[in-house]
Point group: C2
Chain length 104, copies 2
């Protein structure tokens, strides 16, 4: 959970998650949305991966990242819950969030 919050503490990383909210994207495609070097973005991806907030699918030359919504959801819900903050009707459908692959 600490890793998740650390990952969320950076605006660039939060925006990466936002971008992945709609569709998976390659590292380069994501990087094109930000005014920083690709190496910098790669480091951000690593942090997000460490937190298990994104997953990487390697397909040939490119690496496609996708959001692991359930991980974000679980962390947010657990935290909010511990404050009695009610998230109305959570867990809609895990359609975009791929099957079990080392859930944290």
């Amino acid at each position: 959970m600490n890793r998740v919050f650390k990952a969320l503490s950076d605006p660039t990383r939060r925006r990466v998650l936002q971008l992945l909210r709609e569709r998976p994207m390659s590292a380069g495609e994501l990087a094109d949305h930000f005014p920083v070097a690709k190496a910098t973005m790669s480091a951000h991806f690593a942090v997000l991966r460490e937190a298990d907030l994104i997953a990487a699918d390697k397909q040939g030359k490119t690496i496609t990242y996708r959001l692991r919504l359930s991980v974000l959801e679980d962390a947010l819900l657990a935290f909010a819950d511990s404050f009695g903050i009610g998230f109305p009707a959570a867990a809609a459908q895990p359609a975009l969030d791929k099957p079990r692959e080392e859930s944290a």
Copy 2:
């Protein structure tokens, strides 16, 4: 919003919020729960105050901090909302334009 997430990125600060969840506490009382110097805790309080997550009530010698739950709640809900977590009503509305984020 950035300040809130930055504030939440530290475990000590998250724990402070948890402690304040039930009842307000003085700075010293809070500090007694952590193995760090009071001055260090004071810095943490400042960060939480900057993020508006806690409010200080000065009463004589002591300063009593209380949780500003609505601020935490608003931030959490807004963020979760933008991912379609919780609030099924908001999920029906596509929020493509995300608000610009200022890091101060």
